[in-house]
C-alpha cells in the first residue's frame, strides 16, 4: 500500500524532508524500518508518531493512503 510520511519541526530540518511517499508498504513495522534506513539521523531525536492526526501508542494496522507523522516534542504557545 501507499503511505504518506511527514516530518515536522527539527525532524524536517534534520531529514531535509517534510514529506515522502512510501509505496509497497506491508506493515507499520516495515515502514518504520524503511524510514530508519532512509533517515538514520532521526534516531538522535525524541519524537512521537501520529497516524491520520492521532497519536499512536502501539503499532497500528495501516491502510492505503494513511498519513504517518513524525513529530518532535510539541512547543506551542
Amino acid at each position: 500500500m501507499e503511505i504518506q510520511v511527514f516530518f515536522f519541526g527539527v525532524l524536517a530540518e534534520a531529514t531535509k524532508t517534510a514529506f515522502k511517499h512510501y509505496r509497497g508498504v506491508t506493515s507499520f513495522e516495515e515502514l518504520k524500518m524503511r524510514i530508519g534506513d532512509d533517515f538514520p539521523e532521526i534516531s538522535h531525536y525524541n519524537y512521537r508518531i501520529a497516524v491520520n492526526n492521532e497519536l499512536v501508542y502501539e503499532d497500528p494496522v495501516l491502510k492505503e493512503g494513511d498519513e504517518v507523522a513524525y513529530m518532535p516534542p510539541f512547543a506551542g504557545g
Partner: protein, 146 residues
C-alpha cells in the same frame, strides 16, 4: 472544518479587537478570561531572540484544538465559549502568537478554564518553534514546564 485556529504571522491587535467586540453578544456571560502569549526577547548565552518561527501539523492542530474546546465545554458547564488562535510562521519579539478567550457565567470558571486551555495547548497542539536570534542564527525550542 470551519473552526480555524491557525493564523499566518502574528495575531494582530485588529484580530484581538474584533474578538473583544463580539463579547457583548454573550449576555449570559459575566466573565471572560483571556490569555495572550507573546514572543519574549530572551537571552541565550550571548544571543538575543528577535523572533520565533512557528510551524504546525495543521490538520492535526485543528483537530486537537477542537478536542480541547469540547473537553472544556464538557467539564465546565458554566463555560459559554472557547476561542483559540495560534500563529504559524514568523512572529517578532513583542508580537502575539497565542490568544485564548474563555467566556463563562462566573469568573472562577472563566479563569480556571482559560488556564486549563493554555496548558492543554502546550501539551497537545502539534506546533513547533524555532527561536531566531539577532544574528539570524536559530535554535529549535521545546516547551519548558514554567
Amino acid at each position: 472544518m470551519s473552526y480555524k485556529i491557525l493564523v499566518n504571522g502574528p495575531i494582530t491587535r485588529k484580530i484581538m479587537s474584533s474578538i473583544l467586540a463580539s463579547l457583548a453578544k454573550n449576555t449570559d456571560a459575566g466573565g471572560h478570561s483571556v490569555f495572550i502569549g507573546q514572543v519574549r526577547a530572551d537571552i541565550r548565552g550571548a544571543k538575543r531572540v528577535r523572533a520565533i518561527e512557528y510551524s504546525a501539523y495543521e490538520k492535526m492542530a485543528e483537530t486537537e484544538a477542537g478536542k480541547i474546546k469540547e473537553s472544556i465545554l464538557a467539564e465546565f458547564n458554566d463555560v459559554k465559549s472557547v476561542e483559540i488562535l495560534h500563529s504559524v510562521g514568523i512572529v517578532m519579539v513583542g508580537e502575539t502568537s497565542l490568544f485564548v478567550l474563555v467566556s463563562a457565567g462566573h469568573r472562577h470558571h472563566a479563569i480556571d478554564a482559560c488556564s486549563r486551555v493554555v496548558e492543554m495547548i502546550k501539551a497537545t497542539l502539534p506546533v513547533w518553534k524555532k527561536e531566531i536570534f539577532e544574528d539570524n542564527s536559530a535554535m529549535w525550542k521545546e516547551n519548558s514546564l514554567d
